[in-house]
């Protein structure tokens, strides 16, 4: 392999399986969906620092209020998210909390399927809501484009999506490396070989992420922006990020993950240039994580989490949350952040407003089985 393993591991999980998918439509607006695969921890991303139960439930995992980037009297951003803090200050970033898809169990596969298909239950809907969104937009002569080895569920469906993979896209990711390490834990031969491989490469679990992650994710953002900034380019894109399943060693891993995400947004911002003012980026994950820390320095699969809308077209500088509280009695099934905001409503409202589509019709097309979600008003600048 000619790949430099150091730089490729430094690229962190964000880049790893970060296929970027594009579809084109006749509109000036750009819509980018960044999926966080693995159930990102909303509570340590958009931190309810003023909530007394936060620090007690999280223990050593709690982000210290003094280092967090305060947004208002209640919420703060993780210290890694400096670019997002700046965009929030510029009223171009907006955060949503205690948000969840209709899915209430805790399987990544099933949860991602619901998030991407827009069904109310896993495998109920056969195509993705992004593909149906493309179908709602006026066609131009050009075929839609996708950047990826495989089309993710959200973009699959009757409307053609061409795929393209940057050949230099790094492939292995930290998340897989960690899982392989766990998988070999009880196999004497493989455990020994694997440990020695990691040692030799100087990439034991502690030493991942860092500056390189941000830099490489920034490059990915700029690359994607290069396509989206063109007048004849695609209008809809999807970027996959992974590595969010932080059952152990969460603080270091999440810091690195969020730094990469922050770098990705910075890269998009820089690369989109003048088009940034017409851009809407939606960031969401399949479900959140437990309120309490587990016994291995991490958190387990939960229910509600955080989502974000970012971009020059976003009416930002706001946090939208019907805060359910973190006391024991406030929690979903006694363990999770209770969902008070429907992710379906956020997605369909953001899409309808981005492309100036009818709100009800968009909701029915994108989330046919979720009834009549309460539309969210004025997410974007008009």
């Amino acid at each position: 392999m000619s790949l430099d393993r150091r730089s490729f591991l430094g690229a962190a999980a964000l880049i790893t399986a970060s296929p970027v998918l594009f579809a084109q439509a006749a509109t000036e607006r750009r819509f980018i969906f960044i999926i966080q695969r693995g159930a990102a921890d909303g509570l340590n991303t958009v931190i309810p620092y003023a909530e007394p139960a936060y620090a007690s439930a999280r223990g050593a995992l709690a982000i210290d209020a003094s280092s967090a980037l305060k947004l208002d009297g209640t919420f703060a951003l993780h210290p890694s998210l400096t670019k997002l803090r700046d965009l929030y200050a510029a009223e171009q970033a907006m955060f949503f909390h205690a948000v969840a898809s209709p899915y209430r169990d805790r399987s990544h596969f099933d949860g991602q399927n619901v998030l991407e298909t827009g069904g109310a239950a896993p495998y109920q809907v056969k195509d993705g809501w992004m593909n149906r969104l493309v179908g709602l937009l006026p066609r131009t002569g050009k075929e839609a484009i996708a950047f990826s080895p495989a089309v993710p569920m959200a973009l699959r469906g009757p409307v053609d999506v061409t795929t393209y993979t940057p050949s230099a896209l790094p492939q292995a990711n930290d998340d897989l490396m960690l899982r392989v390490e766990q998988l070999y834990a009880k196999d004497a031969q493989l455990h020994a070989i694997w440990s020695s491989a990691l040692d030799a490469r100087g990439m034991a679990t502690g030493g991942m992420g860092g500056g390189a992650a941000r830099q490489d994710s920034g490059a990915l953002g700029k690359m994607a922006a290069g396509f989206l900034a063109r007048a004849d380019g695609p209008r809809i894109a999807m970027i996959e990020t992974s590595g969010w399943d932080t059952h152990s060693g969460q603080n270091a891993r999440l810091a690195s993950q969020l730094k990469s995400l922050d770098g990705l947004i910075a890269g998009l911002h820089e690369g989109l240039g003048a088009v940034w003012s017409k851009t809407v980026i939606l960031i969401a994950t399949e479900f959140g994580r437990t309120v309490a820390a587990n016994g291995t320095g991490g958190t387990d699969h939960g229910t509600a989490g955080a989502a974000m809308l970012i971009g020059g077209a976003v009416q930002g500088g706001r946090i939208v949350a019907d805060w359910p509280g973190l006391k024991g009695s406030d929690l979903q099934e006694g363990r999770d952040l209770k969902p008070t905001l429907a992710l379906d409503a956020l997605i369909s409202s953001a899409c309808a407003q981005t492309f100036r589509l009818d709100t009800d019709r968009t909701a029915k097309m994108l989330f046919p089985s979720s009834g009549q979600p309460q539309a969210m008003q004025r997410l974007l600048r008009t």
């Binding site: 399986a17 399987s107 596969f109 492939q171 990711n173 392989v180 998988l183 493989l190 491989a197």
Partner: protein, 454 residues
Amino acid sequence: MSTPAIALNRFGLGAKPDELLPSNPKSWLLSQLDAYDPLPAPWKMQPRTTALLDTWLTQQRAARQAPEGERSGVREAYLRQGREAYVAAVGARTHSALQSNTPFVERLVHFWSNHFAVSTDKLLVVGLAGGFEADAIRPRVLGRFEDLLLAVVRHPTMLLYLDQAQSIGPRSLAASRAGGGGQQRPRGLNENLAREILELHTLGVRSGYTQNDVTEFARALTGWTLPGDESAAGSATFRFVAALHEPGDRVVLGRTYASGGEQQARSILHDLVTSPATALHIARKLARHFVADEPPAALVQRLADTFSRTDGDLPSLYRELVAAPEAWRPASAKFKSPWDWAISSQRALGRQELPPGQAINLMNQLGQPVWRPGSPAGYDDTAATWAAPDALLRRVEMAQRMATQAGDAVDARSLAPRVLPGAVSEATAGAIARAESGSTALALLLVSPEFLRR
């Protein structure tokens, strides 16, 4: 592993997702001995040895006739053409392995091809390697060992690879003519093929033969060469040239072989095949391939006895192996070679084809380039060679790439029990179920301990 999983993975090349589980694993394996197709569709499209040899002979002629300054150009053109033939042949080998419904016999093809290894780091072999496997190995893996050996030794690829084509008896007619004419062609005896037949193909290293046996055998082999390049080769791919043959009786391993042209070396080969050392050598390699790096002595002995009793009837050996309880022990003792791992991974993903260039890159990156073991000993068949840190990292990296390409069209949760029936450990099932995405789950299946071994 369960018996169906053993049949599919240890004996076969890995299950395909749509494959029905063999209800009787042993008879499933044995039935393949009748169903095997030596020239399946992917190989049918390849040029045969006669055509490949014709290209080689044409090049030789062109090089000889070309002015001094243009010979290297002729040679380069041949090597380029050879490279194309190699790419196509690797494609045929890969597609056969991916598509085969007789994976046990297909595995035996790979085994024998490696036992009688040629290596394309000798550049003139590059274009001929596929023809060797197609025409010397594939048609004879279900016959007698002696016929297989003879086909190998007489095949132009082997004759060129181990320099037999140029070997000349020092006291042969051709040598004395050349000496008399004062030609500057210092050609003489070449022991390469004779030595490797003794050391690798038949008796095995340190089995009691001496340097003198090697030299005597090499003298007997003189005259075994390619068809002449002045005539169109037609269908012949081998020629015995009496003028190159060393006259006189030969003594090999204490037995005297009367002078008799081509028949002299044939008689030596026949006696080598019937030697107990050869039976033991082949028995040990087969048992090592299918059972364990250090195979059980009792099994090796039974196989060796079968070899001797049946005059090297290969299907009898395979039946003995399938019947052997040692081969059905649940613990997977064999660490898959890169080829095994790559093929079983692709089969598990339901791939029928792989662009040949991709197959070549894949095997290069995994450290086992096709037909390029670097020596006539072939690739080693033990875990010590393949279960290494960097190699394992590469498999993880490749697994991630394959899984990403497959996307979530393949669900690892349902695939795992189909390709490893009754053999998925709790740890692996758990890791797959907890994976944060479909492609991560698939990658984990492909690098799981039970999928890395067979």
